[in-house]
């Protein structure tokens, strides 16, 4: 039996009152990934428990189990000491669990009030939905969050940050004893975070058990009482935050020295390769200029929704900028489509791997050769041997782990999927590679590999744009960093000037 399990189950050294909710020996297996491995944790009333772990450690998976979206392969959940099964999301809600999910899973076409109250709307005496009560209660909830969003407008008319507030309001609208927050602050500015924390403290006083997930240590120390650290799907440590210094937690999280995760190699940086002048988009970004030199890694940092992905996609020809100039190796070019970009040697590794990067049901080799079919075919006819050869070359170079090259990409783990995406672009021999959140949702081993690989590509003379929301990644990997805020450039920082404080200040507009 796992040591962590014994710890929680037997002597509940964390928390004072008996646990409201206990998870014992939970395992969750996805094709190719064991997202959770025999995890046991307990949540106590009046306590904020921080769940800490690297990307892909399994935090969100735990949340989804607790909210009835996944059914774990092994283990049991107890509420008030009674074993329960969360057969559906509704069952979890009925058992008193509410959650703010990491992705804002809401309804564009419904109103704000409805997004908040869907599934538990106030009813009239005739059991019909009471829109008036719903709107006024939604208004009250949003006001408590210091937001003046009109509850009757449709969600599609809100900004990303406002959507997050709606998601928070939704979680709070459910009368629950257990409140789970999966990175609720990621898209919020400092003021909104303060409002949220005020509410969290209120909940704690009312005796709710709160599970709080965040990558930001300052926030964790500010709001949480206890902590649990996940690494590679296992609970590797827990305790009281007051008694545990940050570097100890970081060590548990990463399992080794942090610097290793960012094997930045110093390379000689050459002349300008890509110059962007006054790039503007009608609605997404405005007036962006920068220069990318050979062998350079240009980081782009910002809050979620700052417009980084849109900027990257317009460089790749997915969306068209309204105005601005692009120069590649000194020549001005215009890019109308991804085909143009690929021909010019600019490629893009998208943020949403599953949605934009891969055709998940198709085999690995077919995904790998998709942009370079002209290389593996003759006169438009496919040649399987050539395709396998090309796929094998990059699979081996990236140390891809797969049962065969003909298995669907969807069966691979996140890190290996990312390798396929990167591999398919390397096969086109690009000059500039744009990586949008290259390590999002990738497990720790693959992550270091991806970082090492990025460094190596730079060393080979490739120019790299790396969009990332992760400060350590940005700081660890970039030669220079462009910070974006609400679609505008908020500053460019040289490597020497990089510090978490400076970047966050630029990205949020306050300290």
């Amino acid at each position: 039996m796992n040591a962590a399990f014994q710890q929680t189950a037997t002597d509940s050294k964390t928390g004072d009152a008996p646990a409201i909710l206990e998870m014992r020996g939970i395992s969750q297996i996805f094709p190719g990934v064991k997202a959770l491995d025999n995890v046991s944790i307990a949540l106590h009333p009046g306590t904020v428990t921080a769940l800490i772990g690297e990307n892909g450690a399994g935090k969100s998976t735990l949340v989804k189990i607790l909210t009835g979206i996944y059914r774990p392969n092994e283990g049991e959940i107890r509420v008030d000491g009674q074993p329960v099964t969360f057969a559906s999301a509704q069952a979890a809600i009925d058992a008193g669990v509410t959650a703010i999910h990491q992705e804002t899973v809401l309804f564009d076409e419904l109103t704000v009030a409805e997004n908040i109250f869907l599934g538990h709307a106030p009813r009239t005496r005739l059991r019909t939905i009471d829109w008036q009560a719903m709107n006024s209660r939604a208004k009250a909830l949003l006001t408590a969050l210091e937001s003046n969003i009109d509850p009757t407008i449709r969600l599609k008319d809100l900004s990303i940050a406002q959507r997050h507030l709606v998601a928070i309001a939704r979680a709070l609208s459910i009368e629950a004893r257990i409140v789970i927050m999966d990175e609720p602050t990621a898209a919020l500015s400092r003021k909104e975070i303060d409002d949220l924390f005020r509410i969290v403290r209120g909940l704690r006083e009312k005796g709710k058990a709160i599970l709080f997930i965040s990558h930001k240590f300052d926030e964790v120390y500010e709001i949480a009482d206890d902590f649990v650290v996940f690494r590679d799907g296992r609970a590797v440590g827990q305790g009281r935050l007051k008694e545990t210094p940050q570097d100890e937690i970081v060590r548990m999280m990463v399992g080794r020295d942090v610097e290793n995760a960012f094997p930045k190699v110093d390379v000689a940086i050459g002349g300008p390769v890509l110059e962007i002048r006054n790039y503007s988009h009608r609605t997404e970004f405005r007036d962006i200029s920068f220069t990318l030199r050979q062998g350079e890694i240009l980081g782009i940092y910002g809050l979620i929704g700052a417009g980084r992905s849109e900027l990257s996609q317009s460089l790749f020809g997915i969306t068209r900028p309204l105005s601005g100039k692009m120069m590649l190796e000194g020549r001005e070019i215009t890019i109308h489509s991804p085909q143009d970009a690929i021909r010019a040697g600019i490629v893009y590794v998208p943020e949403e791997r599953g949605r934009h990067g891969l055709a998940l049901p198709m085999p690995i080799f077919q995904n790998m050769t998709l942009p370079s079919l002209t290389r593996t075919s003759r006169r438009g006819f496919l040649r399987a041997a050539e395709e396998f050869a090309l796929a094998r070359k990059y699979a081996e170079r990236l140390d891809l782990r797969a049962a065969a090259l003909s298995v669907p990409v969807g069966t691979l783990s996140g890190g290996n999927q990312q390798k396929v995406v990167i591999g398919k672009w390397l096969a086109t021999a690009p000059k500039v590679i744009i990586l949008d959140e290259p390590t999002k949702g990738i497990d720790i081993g693959s992550k270091a590999a991806v970082h090492g690989f990025i460094s190596e590509l730079a060393a080979e003379g490739l120019s790299i744009i790396m969009v990332s929301s992760e400060l350590p990644e940005i700081i660890g990997m970039s030669d220079r960093v462009l910070v974006m805020k609400e679609g505008l450039a908020a500053g460019i920082f040289e490597r020497a000037e990089l510090s978490p404080e400076a970047l966050v200040r630029a990205a949020t507009g306050n300290a």
Partner: protein, 335 residues
């Protein structure tokens, strides 16, 4: 070039399992088994079934629809659909009829028939891939529009008087019992199988159907491919119009009424996922035979057409449901 990892090199095989096992587990094999069963049933049920000429006559039941189904299969794999195919036949046939009245010869008529199909395909293609409208509703619209034009032109009239040699496409035989239509069907089946399974274009069709974002992000000209597919479907409807018009020797605006759903049924029965991304031409070919065999077999027993369609409907639902149920049972027993 060095590798990043310090791991020793592992060899990833190209494929898993033997070719035989891969094929044995496929939809096409299931469907083929169904076809064989129906064949056996038919031979037992009717003494007239096993006769070369009778079987040859029976192929006319499906050859024209199957020609459209090949193109429709590609379209459905790419995630689109065209419900206007039968209306295109009507319009193309009307155009040929009008031309025939003007004394235009057979080659001209064929060109006009296929050309009309092409024009209709382009029209659909523009609406879907340039204006980005949802194909299922757009083609419900063009379905009325195309046939409507036929009605405006022909009204209660009919075109007849096609040149004598025009009859060859629908009534001629290449060798022995093999009709021109059947031979064309086989040739087109091979062409479409090659196009879908052995060319870059076919690969792009699959990629678009599996994930058209990812396809776009991989530099595939998604709109252009879809446009070409609509155009191809239009052309194939034009070809089917030539065959059908030649076979009937007359044109009325109500020609080929209701064929769109039969073509879609054939495509779906052939194992093409209506959600896009998977399926093969072999499947469609077998489905064409299955539908032809069911219709002909029941026809020999003088079962009314509408009762046959019950069988086709059941066949459709059951053959789609079987693999799903089988998978369920497998998952349940593995739990």
């Amino acid at each position: 070039m060095s590798t990043v990892s310090t791991h020793e090199k592992r060899v990833i095989p190209d494929r898993l399992g033997t070719p035989f096992r891969r094929i044995a587990a496929s939809w096409e094999v299931l469907l083929f088994a169904v076809a064989i069963l129906i064949f056996i049933f038919n031979s037992l049920a009717s003494p007239y079934f096993l006769d070369a000429w009778n079987l040859s006559d029976a192929t006319f039941n499906f050859t024209e629809k199957a020609m459209i189904a090949f193109a429709m299969a590609l379209l459905v794999i790419s995630g689109e659909i065209d419900l206007s195919v039968a209306a295109i036949i009507a319009l193309a046939s009307t155009a040929m009829g009008a031309a025939a009245q003007l004394g235009i010869g057979t080659p001209g008529l064929v060109a006009i028939g296929i050309g009309t199909g092409l024009a209709c395909g382009i029209f659909n293609g523009v609406l879907v891939s340039v204006l980005k409208l949802p194909s299922i509703v757009v083609t419900i619209g063009t379905m009325s529009l195309f046939r409507g034009i036929s009605y405006i032109v022909l009204g209660d009239q009919a075109y007849g008087k096609y040149p004598a040699d025009f009859a060859y496409f629908g009534q001629g035989y290449v060798v022995w019992v093999f009709s021109f239509e059947f031979v064309l069907f086989i040739v087109l089946a091979i062409l479409f199988a090659v196009l879908l399974h052995a060319t870059n274009f076919g690969r792009q069709v699959y990629a678009i159907g599996n994930n058209d974002f990812a396809a776009r992000f991989s530099g595939i000209p998604v709109e252009r491919v879809k446009f070409i597919l609509f155009l191809l479907t239009g052309v194939m409807s034009g070809v089917a119009a030539v065959c059908l018009t030649s076979r009937l020797g007359s044109t009325r605006p109500s020609i080929a009424q209701g064929w769109e759903l039969e073509v879609v049924t054939m495509v779906v029965l052939g194992g093409i996922s209506i959600l896009g991304g998977s399926g093969t031409i072999v499947g469609v070919v077998i489905a064409a035979f299955v539908m032809g065999l069911v219709t002909f077999g029941l026809g020999l027993l003088n079962v009314p057409g509408i009762v046959m369609s019950i069988f086709i409907g059941l066949l459709l639902i059951i053959t789609i449901a079987i693999p799903i149920i089988a998978r369920r049972i497998k998952v349940m027993s593995s739990r």
